[in-house]
Structures are given as C-alpha cells and as structure tokens.
C-alpha cells in the first residue's frame, strides 16, 4: 500500500546527501533572544553538529512549545513546528508515529517541559519514541518575564514570589529516569565542546534521548549556573561523568566520588586514604547507578553530575507499532475496505 507520502519518499531516495556546513542550518530570520542569552550557544552548537549526523536537512523536524527556548525552530533551516505551551512532546509523538523516517527534535524549556507539559514529558520518556528532547533549563520563566519555574530553587525571589518561592524544585534528570527514560544527559551552555558531544550521542541513541542543558537567562536569572560554568568554581562544583571512567574532579584532579553503601561521598585522593581504584566507575548502562548519580543534583556537599547519566536500549514505540502493522498485514493481507464494508452479517434486499 502506497500513500501519497510514500510516493514523495520514494522519489527522494536517490537525492544525495549534500555536504553541509553549520551555516546551512541557519535561517534568514532575525534571532530575537536577548543579547548574551545562553540560547545562542545552544543554537550554535546544534547547528555545528548537524552536518556530522548524516541526515539530510529535509528529513529533520524541530518541534517546540512556547517560551524563549521554544523559538528555536525558527532559526533552524529544517522543517519546524512552533507549537503551543507544553505540547511539543505530544505533537512530536504524533509526527514520529506517522513518520518514523524523520529525525524529530523537541525543544522545550523548564516551564514548557516540566510544568504545563510535565504530563507529556513523562509519558514520552516511558514510551521511548525514537526522538530527541533538548530541555533548556534556565530555572525561570523567561518569556513571561521572570516568574519562578518548577526547577527554581526554594526561596527564589521573583515577581511572583516576592517572599521567596516555597516550591521544591524538580530535578529533570531524576524525573526522566523515574519515568523510565532510556537516555538521560546533562550539559552546559557555556561548555560548547561538551554540549556538542552530548547532543551528538543523543542523536545517535535509538529511543528517546533527553538532554538537560543548563542555560543562563542573563535577564531574569543571571548567573544561576555560574558556579558550574565559570573557571574559578567549576572544577570543584562539577563532576564530568564518562562511561567506564572513575568519577574524578577538582582543579588538581584530586577529588573523587566513592560509594558508601548507596550514598555517593566526596573523597580526597591526596591524603593517602583512597586511590582512584576506590572510586565509583561510571557505567551508562546501569539504570540503578543512573538514579544514584542523578540524585547527587541539589546535594550541597556533592558536585553536580554532568554528562551522560544513562544510555540503554529498549524497544522503540513506533517500531513496535510498525511491527504490529506488518504482522497484521502478513496474517490478514493488506486491509481491503470493500471487504470490510461487506463483512459480518449482511443481507440483500431485492
């Protein structure tokens, strides 16, 4: 059975993959984020890695909700859909189910994805459709001019919380893991190299890949992540986790994370008590470990874990659906509507 879409796809099968540069992925639209906004870096890194993915531009779709972050698709020279607040995951799910051949990317914010779209977010994670989710976490509602968000820290003073917020924040990585995500990563707007690496891995993952990007909103929440991104502090506040490597951090690489029971603790590699061999070694295939690592977030005595927390394989939703369709067709043949209409109890009036 060939649909109209199948015909288009068939006709383009021989179109050779052009040699792209990052510039091929930018549009003629003026980028309207505030000068200095962390979103610029995310756009630049994404455009930079696109040529490496081996996917033609016309096969890519960026879907977003509403927020500063959600303006992203307008600046990507691919197909794009700027949806409604919180619903990007749902729009993208329908698109991916209808068109498994497309490379689908969801761009969302901490308000868009964690608050109004929280329900769609968790269900996308558990279904494991083969698409990417980039969450621009600036711990604030940027577009609506600075209210606290579901990732804002407690006590945050904003226009809507003049006495300090009494909301306890989500940790998006833990939320995604709790919802059975198969790929969970965290990266930083001010670490271009790291971000490129993570987004590339996310693109290669078979299943839903979730990337939380710490993003500075220099207008309404300036410096929210500076302790993790700026030279003088980041070495001691961030632990970059890598598959198969022990968790070492610190300016002199003199500190590590060791598991004490199920609890991670910081140990010194200098005082002779512990060596690298005592440290926790990251295994991105270990779901239990991913929970422990994600849970380090917001613990003041622990460095912030950044990197790929989990990357495991699980059947992909739309592939399972295609399998059922193929199975049904094998068993019953391709559906014939004439037969269907005339099936069951029928009778003839002369």
């Amino acid at each position: 059975m060939n649909t109209r879409v199948d015909e288009i796809l068939k006709s383009t099968i021989d179109v050779p993959l052009p040699k792209y540069s990052a510039k091929d992925f930018s549009t003629d639209q003026d980028v309207r984020w505030c000068p200095g906004c962390g979103d610029y870096s995310i756009l630049a890194q994404t455009q930079r890695i696109m040529p490496d993915l081996g996917i033609p531009r016309h096969k890519m779709v960026f879907v977003s909700g509403i927020g500063c972050s959600s303006r992203f698709p307008y600046y990507m020279n691919t197909y794009g859909f700027h949806g409604i607040h919180g619903r990007a995951a749902a729009i993208a799910s329908g698109l991916k189910i209808a068109r498994p051949d497309l490379s689908v990317w969801v761009v969302t914010g901490d308000g868009d994805g964690m608050s109004i779209g929280g329900n769609h977010f968790i269900h996308l994670m558990r279904r494991n459709l083969d698409l990417r989710v980039l969450l621009f976490n600036n711990q604030i509602y940027g577009l609506t001019k600075g209210q606290y968000s579901p990732t804002s820290e407690m006590g945050k003073v904003t226009k809507s919380s003049p006495y300090g917020s009494v909301d306890y924040p989500f940790n998006p990585a833990s939320l995604a893991l709790g919802a059975s995500a198969t790929f969970v990563a965290r990266t930083l707007d001010r670490d271009p190299k790291h971000m490129q690496g993570v987004i590339k891995r996310a693109a290669e993952h078979k299943g839903t890949s979730f990337v939380e990007i710490y993003q500075n909103c220099n207008v309404f929440n300036d410096g929210a992540f500076f302790q993790f991104t700026e030279k003088d502090t980041k070495d001691d506040t961030v632990v970059f986790i890598e598959h198969g490597k022990p968790l070492v951090f610190g300016k002199e690489k003199d500190k590590g994370i060791r598991l004490n029971g199920f609890s991670p603790e910081v140990v010194s590699l200098k005082d002779g008590k512990y060596s690298v061999n005592d440290l926790l070694v990251h295994d991105e295939k270990d779901t239990t470990l991913s929970f422990i690592l994600a849970d380090m977030t917001y613990k003041p005595h622990l460095p912030r874990p950044v990197g790929i927390l989990l990357a495991v394989d699980r059947p992909v939703y739309e592939a399972e659906m295609e399998r059922q369709i193929a199975f049904a067709r094998e068993k019953r043949g391709v559906g014939d509507l004439k037969k269907l209409l005339n099936s069951g109890e029928t009778w003839v009036v002369q």
Partner: protein, 613 residues
C-alpha cells in the same frame, strides 16, 4: 401443542431490561441482527448505567435495550415499548412508564424475590397486587426453566444464571417469528473452543423457543413482514462503528495514512476500540495520556502528511480547545469528533445530549472559525465522517464532527456504499520548491499549500504565532493581523460553495418549518410525517452543515410563517438562526439525557399550528 393465532403488525417496539450483569445489551443486539437480516427496518437504543457492575437488583443498576422494528420505515427507537421483558423488579419499575397501556410484560418470576422487591422499593409484589392489571402479563420462571434445560450437563449454577437471557431471547424469537440461526451461528463463532458452553447456550435458546411454542401461556404470535427498503446489500451499524469506518474510507480515498490520537471517554471510546482493530489497513491509533496529547499528536501526524483525527466527548473537547486553535492557525487538516453526552462537567456520561453546538461553533480563544458537521442517524455517521475528512483535507482546516450518545450506540440497517463510487479526496502535496510560500493560497478554496517534511527544498517553519500573509513568517503587523483573521474566516465561509443546498422535507413553504440538526432527525421526521398525513402545513429542514450553512438556508426560512427548532439543549441552534437570519424562530427544548419522543414533538407542532402556542 396449543393452538396459536398469528397476528400481522407493521411495527413493534420491544425493550429488554434487567440487571447490568444480565446480558441485556447482548440479547438486544442478537435480536437486532436477526431482525435486520429478516429485512425489517429498525432502530435501536441501548440504555445502560454509568457504573460497570452496579449492585444487583438496584434501580440504578438496570440496563435496557430497546428495538423498534417494522415492515414500514422506522426512524426512531420508539417513544414507548409494546413489550417489556423484565428480568427483575427493578427492571420492571424503571421501565414501566415507557410501556404503552395494554402492552405486554414478560417477567422472570424467579427474579421477584423478597430481597429484589425490597431493593426495587416495592412494598408489595406488583405481580400480586393488581397494579399491573392494564397490561398483558406473561409470568415465566425463566431461571428455573433455564436450569431444567441444562440439567444433564455439568454446568455451574453461575453459568445457568448468566444464560437465562438466552431463554428470554428464545421466547421473543418465537413470539415474533424470528429464526434462531443467526444467533446460533454467532455462538458457534464465539465459543469455537468451548464446545460445552456452546452446547449449553444453544440449548437454552432453543428451550426458550420450545417453551413458548408448547406452553399455554402464549396464545398469539406476531408476524412483521419485511420493510420496503431500497435494493442492495445491507448491514446493521452503530454510529460509533460508522464513524470509524467513515474515517478509514476517507483515508483510503485520500491515499493517506489514518492517525487517531485519542483518550478514552464515554460514549466515544468505541471509535478508538474499533479503529485499533484495523492495523492491516495502516490505521495508527495512539492512546494518548490525555485529550490534549490526543489532539496534539493528531496535529503532529497531519504535519507529517497523515489524516490526523481525534475522537472524544464534550469534556475532552474542552481540553482540546487550545490545540484546535493551533490547527486553525497552522492551517493543517484535522477532524475532531465529539460524541456529545449529557453535560456540563461529567454530567450524564452514558446519556445523550446536543448541548455542545455552541462549544463547537465558538468555543475557542480568538477568531477561530471551524467547519461544523453533524450526523443525523447512526448510519449517516459514515458519510459525515467522510465529508468532515474531505473538507479538512481540501481546505486545510480542523473540522468539528458532532454525533451524540444516542447515535453512537444506536443502530439501524445501512445500505452498504459502493466503495468505488466514493469520491477521490486525495490532497496535493507540494513538491516543487520553485516559488513555494507556506502561506500562499489557492485562489478558489483559499487553502494554503501542504508541504510535508521529507520533501527536499521545502523546509519551512509553522506555528501558532500570527503569520505574515504569503511568507508565513512571524508578523506583529496590525494590518496583516486583520487581513489574516479575515482570510481565515473567508476560507471557511467559502466551503459553502462546495456543499449541497439544504433540502426541505415536505412543502417548500407553509405555516411551520421544523428545523433540527444531528441525532433528532428520526424523531422530528416521524412527528412531521404524522402531522403532514393529518393535513397539517408543516415541513422539516435538517441541517448537516452548521458552519458554514448551505447558502439557501436563509431563503428557506423566509418561506414559513413559524419556525420551530427542537433541540436537546436550552436553545443553541435557535440562537444562531435568530442572530444570523433575524427570524423569529422559537425552540422546543428537553434536556433529559434522552432522545425526543416523536409524540411530544407532534403535540408541540399541533399546538403551534392550532395557534395555542
């Protein structure tokens, strides 16, 4: 064997009633299928409680199924029933008011225990106190006779209790001269792998028949000849099934994949169930996490070049509202099917109502016009779903399809359409990048071009922010916004060039025009025809297209002295007619969660014509 007389009648209404666990829906459906195959015209109405298994014997646990069939044209499930089969006192009490004076009651006497009488709130046994004297009573110990027929089989008492409905069915088959074969064939299919159960069920069914044939209790049998239906192949179909098939047919004729995003809700869930079966037709069903995801995923699928649809009931439409506005803005095809139920809020989930018309027409933020189409009968749901899809695809717009709980679960014989004769409704996807502008428009329809992802050179971005005319870029320009609002409205208005003129049933002018829409078609038609036969100057206009309306509606309205608009709401279409056409239309409104009775409509028509109202 006793002597039996045979009476010929041209129409009968039977109501099967019992506990929700008594299998009354199944009994009714079987009787319906057999009756359909005999060539009677018919109309059915199931009536069941919202609770899945309400406590046995209680009034609110009563489940009923009414079938109206005849050798003449049948348009409604019947105002009243001629025969009531009551499996227990609660079923009797709930349904007695719906029985005509002098009607027949068949009761399962075993169900009339002290406990059940008390549960139904009877101080004394109605079978003994003379309160049923004006009816023809048939008292049968169905439970005991069922048990007897299964005596030598090793069957549990639970099964015996559950199969007594087949005894009742057997009795009704005998009484109305229906063969047992259709049901036996069905049983054979269902219990292929359970020969014991199959044998037992067939025995009970036959026992019911044989009992009626032999016993002195029944002295009359009735004959209902075949109706004069248009020639062709028929099947019986419910509204929900017809909607589902209409969508499959539309996708096929559009050469597209069908994508349903839906969240379960009574009375729409059966469309989701039905479509989930058709994997081999390439139908993709996505049971979403909520209604918002249901409609949003359908919009995403449409963006990808599928026919995206979403099915729900009123509360679900409320949740989908924002996304429907998005579809208006991005101008992608989408069909939203609202199987209306009693509202507001959770309201009466299993009952019917027409109170979502204004929601369909106006229930969105901003100027967001959407075509609205309403199905008139269960089988008409097929055509309505097909037509809604056609319009959505041709005009690149969300379309609201309205049915209701009565149409959804009601059934009638359906002349199976010739698939080859259904029109080709396949859209044209743009493939040539030359001069492509996402918001340029077709001169006639004003539809924008549809470019699907995967097409080289047509990469573009759409979204809910206001678009600049032609380019589709974001625009905050005041004049452009005014222009785009008008263009979107004009596009929908132009659909009126592409739909049939409205036709009046009866004389094109006269004293009274009864204007209806949706599932009230059968009741209005029956009432109007009866009045016409009595010489009254009354005609019937039933609107399928509620937005935009056919171009001749305004003119039709001017040809009548009075306009009556019966609706199962407090007057929604009447408001639209009065404001759009400045006519002094008046409403007739009953919002009981039930279809209209044609008799009450007839009375209203009569009183208006006599000048009483």
């Amino acid at each position: 064997m006793s002597q039996k007389t045979i009476e010929t009648v041209d129409e009968v209404t039977i109501r099967f009633a019992g506990d929700s666990g008594d299998g009354m829906q199944l009994t009714g459906t079987q009787f319906t299928n057999t009756t359909a195959i005999l060539g009677n015209d018919l109309s059915t109405l199931p009536d069941y409680p919202a609770e899945i298994r309400a406590p046995a014997g209680t009034l609110f646990g009563v489940s009923g199924f009414q079938i109206h069939f005849g050798s003449k044209e049948i348009h409604t499930p019947g105002d009243h029933c001629d025969v009531l089969v009551a499996m227990n006192p609660a079923a009797l009490k709930v349904n007695l008011a719906g029985l005509v004076d002098g009607g027949s009651i068949i009761v399962n006497t075993d169900g009339f225990s002290d406990r059940n009488l008390k549960l139904a709130g009877y101080a004394q046994n109605p079978l003994r106190d003379g309160s049923l004297d004006k009816f023809r009573m048939y008292e049968v110990d169905i439970s005991k006779l069922t048990a007897l027929s299964l005596q030598d089989l090793n069957i549990s008492s639970k099964f015996v209790d559950r199969s007594k409905n087949f005894f009742a069915l057997g009795m009704m088959y005998w009484m109305y001269g229906r063969p047992l074969e259709t049901t036996i064939e069905w049983l054979k299919g269902k219990f292929k792998d359970k020969p014991d159960i199959l044998e037992a069920n067939i025995r009970v069914l036959k026992a019911g028949w044989n009992f009626s044939e032999t016993t002195e209790i029944f002295s009359v049998r009735y004959e209902v000849g075949p109706a004069n239906l248009a020639p062709g192949r028929y099947r019986n179909i419910t509204g929900n099934q017809a909607v589902a098939w209409g969508f499959i047919a539309a996708a096929k004729k559009a050469n597209m994949e069908l994508f349903l995003g839906s969240y379960p809700i009574t009375p729409a869930s059966d469309i989701l169930h039905e479509l989930s079966l058709y994997k081999s037709y390439g139908v993709k069903t996505f049971q979403a996490e909520d209604e918002i995801a249901g409609v949003s995923s359908a919009i995403g699928a449409s963006f990808g070049g599928a026919l995206g649809i979403t099915t729900t009931s009123g509360p679900g439409v409320a949740l989908k509202t924002e996304a429907i506005g998005l579809a208006v803005m991005v101008e992608l095809p989408l069909v939203i099917c609202n199987v209306q139920r009693g509202g507001p809020s959770t309201g009466l989930p299993t009952k019917t109502e027409q109170a979502d018309l204004l929601q369909a027409l106006y229930g969105r933020n901003g100027e967001a016009p959407v075509p609205v189409i309403a199905a008139a009968t269960p089988s008409d749901c097929f055509d309505a779903a097909f037509e809604a899809s056609r319009i959505a695809l041709k005009y690149m717009t969300p379309v609201m399809l309205l049915t209701d709980g009565y149409l959804a679960n009601g059934s009638e014989p359906w002349l199976i359409p010739d698939f080859d004769k259904l029109p080709d409704i396949s859209p044209t996807f743009v493939t040539n990048p030359e001069g492509y502008m996402p918001y340029s428009r077709d001169e006639t329809t004003l539809a924008r071009p549809w470019a699907v992802p995967g097409t080289p050179g047509l990469e573009h971005r759409i979204g809910g922010l206001e678009k600049q005319n032609i380019t589709g870029n974001i625009s905050y320009d005041p004049e452009n916004h005014d222009l785009m609002i008008r263009l979107r409205a004009e596009k929908i208005q132009r659909i009126s060039n592409d739909i049939p003129m409205a036709t009046v049933e009866g004389s094109p002018s006269g004293d009274l025009l009864v204007v209806g829409w949706g599932g009230t078609y059968g009741a209005i038609k029956t009432a109007v025809i009866r009045q016409q036969k009595k010489g009254a100057s009354v005609s019937h206009l039933h609107l399928r297209y509620l937005n935009p309306m056919p171009k001749n509606v305004g003119e039709i309205l001017t040809k009548f002295k009075r306009i009556l608009v019966p609706e199962i709401n407090l007057g929604q279409l009447v408001k639209v007619l009065r404001s759009d056409f400045l006519v002094p239309a008046t409403g007739f409104n009953k919002v009981r969660g039930l279809p209209f009775r044609s008799a009450e409509l007839e009375r209203e028509i009569e009183e208006i014509l006599k000048g009483i109202k």
